[in-house]
């Protein structure tokens, strides 16, 4: 057995105007609209990434969550970029942007920059571009965050050595209701780390810290 075992390295959760990193509350805002909250985060975390403002809300949410999760981990340098994966899921696909585009069609002025985001996996593309990730990536649609199912899939990617590290999680947004929860799993030789198991992902997901 290899001494490199999948370990849960960290997590980030964004919901209800709050950001938790590894269950610690690191940012909180009073604003209710996601658009304003996203702008606030951009300023607060000093994210110099002009393209952020061009993304749709779902991509902003996922991109922020990944950025805070990966903050300075240099994943795509530490590992072969082709060995870093991203596996996400949500319930409503890109519905928020689909509706926006649909309403544009009705008024006759359709924006190509909006249409581009009418696919859920564009958020994975944005994350990959930002962090130089090139490995296996998939987007699943499911009623709820099915942790056991996602675990099985990511675990297989790790066990079959298709990836050495992977971002997994849930990124859902419709209007101003949103929730993103991402975790980072890496094959690591640290002995006292948090094992990559369904139970441990659930613990991270369910423990919102002191909010």
């Amino acid at each position: 057995m290899s001494k490199f075992q999948p370990k849960l390295i960290g997590s980030c959760r964004i919901s209800n105007c709050q950001i938790h990193k590894n269950t610690n509350l690191i940012f909180k805002s009073d604003y209710q609209s996601f658009a304003t909250f996203a702008d606030e985060c951009y300023t607060h975390f000093k994210l110099a990434y002009p393209k952020f403002h061009k993304m749709d809300k779902l991509s902003k949410l996922g991109w922020l969550c990944a950025d805070i999760l990966l903050n300075n981990t240099n994943l795509a340098i530490k590992y072969d970029p082709f060995k870093v994966g991203v596996v996400l899921s949500n319930k409503n696909s890109s519905l928020d942007t689909d509706i926006k585009y649909y309403n544009m069609l009705k008024t006759g002025v359709a924006s190509p920059a909006v249409f581009v985001y009418s696919l859920p996996n564009i958020v994975i593309g944005e994350i990959c571009i930002r962090h130089g990730i090139k490995g296996a990536n998939t987007f699943f649609i499911s009623e709820r965050f099915n942790i056991p199912q996602q675990f099985q899939y990511v675990n297989h990617l790790l066990k079959s050595s298709e990836v050495d590290a992977c971002i997994g999680g849930w990124v859902e947004l419709l209007d101003d209701n949103y929730e993103a929860f991402f975790y980072l799993v890496e094959k690591s030789d640290i002995t006292n780390g948090n094992e990559y198991t369904i139970k441990n992902i659930e613990a991270l997901y369910n423990n919102r810290g002191n909010d």
């Binding site: 403002h53 061009k54 359709a110």
Partner: protein, 84 residues
Amino acid sequence: MTELKENLKRQIVEQLNLKDIKPEEIGDDQPLFVEGLGLDSIDALELIVLLQQNYGIKLTRAEDGPTVFRSVNSMADYIMANKK
């Protein structure tokens, strides 16, 4: 012409969500793409929408984009030449 260019700069910033840039920071002859304002192919398509919406000009050949959208100056020239 100066007014047209000022309007264009404001419209570009608005249409392309360039929140980190103020309209007056864009030079008349500054390249808009890649090394200039860092715009990409989707932005070019948005500029086509901008021309249509605000000036009633339809650019049908995507390959004309790079010439027309080289800078604010080239856009203004194109608008003047094609305005009905």
